[in-house]
Amino acid sequence: MNINFEIALAGNPNAGKSSIFNMLTGSHQHVGNWPGKTVERKSGSLKYKDNEIIIVDLPGTYSLTAYSPEEMIARDHLLYDKPEVVVNVMDSANLERNLYLAVQIIELGIPSVMVLNMSDLASAKGIRIDKELIAKELNSFVVTTIAREQKGGEDLLEAVLAQKSKLSQGMKAYEPIKIDYGHEIEVEISELSRLIMNSPAIKKVFPVRWLAIKLLESDVDIQNKLRLLAGGKEIIFSAEGSKIKLEAIFEEDLDVIIADRRYTWIHDLVKRAVFRPKEKFISLSDRIDQLTTHRIFGIPIFLAAMWFVFKLTADVSAPYLDWVDGVIHGPIAGWLYAILYGLGLEGSWFESLILDGVVAGVGGVLVFVPVLMFLYVALAILEDSGYMARAAFVMDRLMHALGLHGKSFLPMLVGFGCTVPALYATRTLENPKDRILTGLLVPFMSCGARLPVYILFAAIFFPHNSGMVVFSMYLLGIVTAIVLGIILKNTLFKSKEQSTFVMELPPYRVPTLRSIWFHTWERTSAFVKKAWTIIMATSILLWFLMAIPVQGIGSFAKTDVSDSAFGVINKAVAPVFAPLGFGSWEASSALFTGFVAKEVVISTMTQVYSVLEEPLEIEQIPTISEGLKEIGVSFWAASIDTVKSLPLIVGINLFEEGVEDDPTSLMSSIRVGFEESSQGHAALAGLAFMVFVLIYTPCMAAVAAERHELGMNWTWVSIFGQLGIAWMMAFAVFQGGKLLGLG
């Protein structure tokens, strides 16, 4: 017999909940969003003994008081969607704090299975846990697991089935434990419970005792929901009366007293059920922390970690990036051309659409993939090892100057790789104000895609100091973000309340390959899915603009760029950039397409400066096997290059080739063009152009992410704010430089 049912996975952050989820569901996962929220909703399925079990992974929370979107989601799911069984994952070595959530789940009256995860770490610390006693006291099932090593999954599922069959056998369903909150509070709870029992509409929706407790805790969300039900207002009124009475007795907020009583109950249980070694020893994790969070040593260690991430994403991924690019524009474009040739469509507008529109669009998405994968590998290592939380700790003081706190540093850092995942990384911040401010500052971190522009322009205009110039661009982005952060902190985001930074630092752990892979895969594929449509659509739109002849010269898809709708638009826009020294239609075209993706700034320049590219010839098209061989060989070469570049992480270049490219025809065309548009101040104009590329509106994909994370209004602020700041800064560079007689 096939039985389908749903269970929910709850637990504190860092309790190993995602390891349990991955262990149970393997690759059968689905990632989406909770309705109307930006919080990720993960679910998965598994088959076990004729049962088809759906698992919903709730956001990691410390309690169910609903002060953050995550807590709200977790609680609403448990309260209203009523999963058949809740699996609560706990860190065995930190049971007291983890039991706080467990107790709240049990008070809600949902049948549960308690998982003592990471039991190996607890044993290593010499901690012994009396499972049976905990099971008895919580009236629940208790199992031990080591999810990282895939141990205990079957026990867990057996417990879930046992809990479920216990319910379906109609044994006096499920009697949740009662925590004794002390005489004074209990009197008020009984009084409120009696009122609730007399209101059928309310009794139907909420567990009675639980609701009474929540009202005494002044849970605003529950009050709001209760007001809509018949008899709700009276109950709230009565609860407020009880609260005033009790707070006069305790001289403290009632919710704090209630939390304290729960902890007292838990403390008593832990004293009886958890045995720890008498002698206190300092754990390895604490020893490492003495260094990594040290007032002085913490900073160099942090910088080294960031250097590692940066190098891994920037240098080590580069050969694969070239490989992806080569495959798309080599064999794949070739094959498509061969197919179109075979269909007799050679030279048609359709061919142009496919090769110049679609292939360019696909390329625009896929070239991100190697960079993102390496970035995510690096982040997964930092996160899974536990270092990420230390980085936030070390950076907290510095980020304070920007009105932010330590946790905002991570999105900023990720921004150097790619703005898109950086914006999604702002989700780790609880406070919406922090999220928005961080999201607005993230695009100023110069992403990987802007780098080729700096490199090309530095090589053209500053061949002797190109490294220095490129580095200053990064620095300028950071300084701009700092200045802007300070301004916003003191104006739009001004508040008396200092941003509150509380964060748990999980114990250090050696990351497992499996979990690194899970993280990397999940995030990379999520990006591809999200960015796919928008980038594709804009590249096709751009192709259309370039294909439509508006000057009466040429026909559809057979017109020079300068005669196309695209060229005409940019000729109209170009004067805006004249005070910045690059008021040519070629330069504004590059900036225009740079909005689609920063990667295409250079390729647009190649097109608009009419640098001849070798057209595809049918004779050159590789056969399928030749092409596959080429793909394989170049992948191998890219892998070798990657291995070679690994020593670069620590700054050692073992394989220096010292290639100095001669100025290409593109470089000289750009130089001539800038010379002309700036009336002889080409170097200043080039620098101003680089500054503009650094600061102006991020790409389409980033805008899509901003809309998703910040909402449409802030996205407009970001788009136009950045355009404005970019224009002013480039103006200052060009005009200021001229005044000072530079360049």
């Binding site: 939390a259 913490g298 907290d396």
Partner: protein, 79 residues
């Protein structure tokens, strides 16, 4: 002699203390309570990094920012 109550900010490195009260809004108090910081809880100061504190509370390690540290009133315990 009554115990001396002071903000967390003034605790020296390595000291043990007991939380006496938090002078902040309800939301903040509940958050700290969920993390295990309830009145009467004892903890140790592990690090002290320019106003940001690292505490050892009930087997877990909590980072507390400077803004919050001065709202947490504590009682210094003898080591």
């Amino acid at each position: 002699m009554s115990p001396q109550i002071m903000p967390l900010t003034f605790l020296p490195l390595g000291s043990k203390a007991k939380l006496s009260r938090i002078s902040a809004g309800t939301g903040l108090k509940s958050r700290l309570a969920a993390l295990g910081l309830t009145p009467g809880t004892e903890f140790t100061v592990l690090q002290h990094n320019g106003g940001t504190f690292l505490l050892s509370v009930r087997d877990s390690r909590l980072a507390i920012g400077s803004g919050m540290a001065y709202k947490i009133m504590v009682e210094l315990l003898d080591n």
